[in-house]
Symmetry: C2
Subunit: 436 residues, 2 copies
């Protein structure tokens, strides 16, 4: 670059729908990272990108610059293929917990860096931390060691991974620029590619309880993620899955760990297991181990034969948690002091369970965060007693509020409003489509 | 308003093309004024407004909230109709200087609050300050007194007029959100309506040397200005005038005062006089004094009979300047030490004189500001020796650089590039259309 561009000229360029050059994009992300660009110029650019989007080349460069704004893990010493899964966030989405050990049990390394919950969607880190002693803040050498020796480790994002994304995300949150496909895609990929992975499976949630409300947006996000992956030379499979009703039967941190352990024992709700098997099958395929069909069979097998559970037990122990959680979760996990039923107002079928309303009910009880700095109560949450399609009788429990006397009235109202009971209700798979 | 809106929700609303309510708009402008809204949220909202625009009701409310963000002058003690003129900015645009005294001489009060020059366009305050002693920083009581007694006073904007506009303008300047019709219109009108006027004539410049590059944008700006005026119960006439070639024969502060005095003596370049007469005619019509045609005649008459010059002389004296400028400008005004010709490279006709290039030449010599904090040299500038349509011979002077040995080489090159000499060139009026 021969001369330093004027920031407002770059904003105007994007504002007018013209493409930014690679140098200009890298100048911008560098200015975001080192703080030389003020918040107000970054905010204006974010709104211009929200409006005009980023072309494939722009998107790839933007994401690459964000990725290289911080540390990129070097896992090249690990010979196994390294594949991760990312979910765009759902209600009751505990899939990473059974999935990562199951995939590791099949011979693929899973270096998983996860996030915390915000709003009505939960976060894997909060769920893991409900296991007494479990430490998600391991240093990189220990993380690398566990991924090498055990095939899996689950930690939180460090300050040194994609710092540009942290600043951009904080600004997007307060400037109405969160819901932008290229900004979401580059945010996800800059963090995931910093893990040093060979491939990724993206679980792109769509529906009332998800960030993406319609199939078209979900497909567009998947395409953007894949474009970034292609440009980075990584294999990326996108699975679009329904997020209208909560996943499985539990919402809340310790409750979801309990459900995860059930899946790792070859049990658990059908949909939680189905998603685990399907996403695991794609991960094995992305790793180049086998076909997706064969991959699904292998995942089902390691869930059923105890080898996934065995890895999970070792993982919990290696990360400082109480390994007995794998065998007797009820003895180890915190439990709420009260368990109060929500009952069916009339006879009928469960037509739907609004995931967002159920998620907010759990949030109100203390299972989630309204703001980043809030604490969570690991014990509280919602247990569903019925699934979509079930026939119910008036007065029969639909769900239970597991609470510690916080937010009970508001949560009860929310949760009751989450159930739609009608004459007839069709069941269907959560998996809508797969983009390979 | 029952509850405080979340700023990012208002940004999202505008971003999605939905209308903001009056309460929401007033909440926003109040937050801009008192600083409770951070720069980054204001910047994002400005880009969203740039994108989605403001409807007529939104625009009127936004401008009214900006107007009331500071002091509004109360000139109700002055019985004469109070009318001002505003120009969107041009090169060589000294019209306010002959116009304001001429209109006052016809019985209309002109409480004129002007700005300083920035970039290639000049500002009335800088021009007036080239008159030794002239003070543009009068207090409001003195300003009001002069408007009452003399019919005219010319001052600069105080910190207490439309403070919301000052903050918004500074942010727009660095976030690529300057060129937005509703933001420009509300910026102009919030300041003008704070003068306590009954009506306004807007000289909306269009062309290479102007902010508005095409007629459609100029019309849209005029319509937005009129919508705000209507909502505020004020009469507003918009005149769209060509700003391709510089106005008159001088660019530079003292040089333009000299030309203004010539117009006030019934002399001066034809186009400077034409604009003065035409804008003055509209001002008298807006004041309800007479028709535009009759108004033009009256303005021409006070220019020719010395009564406008007489008001000007008194105005200069009342504002602390040397009143001899009205009779012998050369004796009073500062002059550049050097006067260097730019000559015609070949025979032909002056097809055009690019106003922006000529304005930049004067700027380079020190007549204008690159940045707000720059000083100006009142003596330097450009004198045109020919007008558009004139026939010229090779070697004949086209213009003179009046300089004090600063920026001469760069200015010479710019100014030479401003002239297009061709086989044939049509003359035309600067006045393109009038929106009443």
């Amino acid at each position: 670059m021969t001369k330093t561009p004027l920031p407002q000229e770059l904003i105007r360029k994007k504002r007018d729908g013209r493409e930014l050059s690679d140098d200009e994009l890298r100048f911008w992300v560098a200015g975001v990272t080192d703080g030389s660009l003020p918040d107000y110029q970054v905010a204006a650019m974010l709104m211009a990108i929200y409006w005009r989007g980023l072309g494939d080349r722009e998107l790839a460069t933007w994401a690459d610059a964000m990725l290289h704004s911080g540390d990129v893990l070097d896992l090249s010493s690990i010979e196994r293929p390294k594949v991760d899964k990312h979910s765009t966030g759902g209600v009751g989405d505990k899939i990473s917990i059974p999935l990562a050990p199951a995939v590791a049990a099949c011979g693929v390394a899973v270096p998983m860096v996860s996030g915390r919950g915000l709003g009505h969607t939960g976060g894997t880190l909060d769920k893991l931390e409900s296991i007494p002693g479990f430490d998600v803040r391991l240093e990189v050498p220990r993380f690398t060691e566990l991924v090498r020796d055990l095939g899996v480790c689950l930690i939180g994002q460090t300050d040194r991974i994609a710092p540009a994304d942290r600043r951009l995300y904080a600004l997007r949150d307060v400037t109405g620029t969160v819901e932008s496909i290229p900004l979401i895609a580059s945010s996800i990929m800059s963090k995931k590619l910093a893990e040093g992975i060979d491939g990724l499976v993206l679980d792109c949630k769509v529906g009332r309880g998800a960030f993406m409300k319609n199939r078209g947006d979900a497909r567009a996000l998947g395409a953007a993620i894949q474009a970034i992956g292609r440009a980075a030379g990584k294999r990326v499979t996108v699975m679009i899955t329904a997020m209208d009703a909560p996943i499985g039967t539990t919402i809340g941190n310790a409750l979801e760990v309990r459900e995860s352990v059930a899946v790792l024992r070859g049990e658990g709700p059908a949909d939680t297991r189905e998603l685990t098997v399907a996403l695991g099958g794609e991960m094995l395929a992305v790793a180049g181990l086998c076909s997706t069909d064969e991959g699904r069979k292998r995942i089902a097998s390691v869930l059923d034969d105890g080898s996934a559970l065995d890895i999970f037990r070792k993982l919990v122990e290696a990360q400082g948690g109480d390994p007995r959680v794998a065998d007797d979760p009820a003895a180890v996990l915190p439990a709420a002091r009260h368990r109060e039923p929500i009952t069916a107002p009339r006879d009928g079928f469960v037509e739907t369970i609004f995931a967002d309303e159920a998620g907010i009910a759990a949030l109100i009880l203390g299972a989630g965060r309204r703001r980043k700095e809030d604490d969570v109560d690991p014990a509280v949450g919602v247990e569903l007693a019925v699934a979509v399609g079930d026939e119910v009788r008036k007065g029969q429990p639909l769900a239970f509020l597991c609470h510690n006397e916080t937010g009970v009235d508001a949560a009860r109202e929310r949760l009751a409003g989450a159930f739609q009971i009608s004459e007839h209700a069709p069941g269907r798979s959560r998996i809508l489509e797969v983009l390979q």
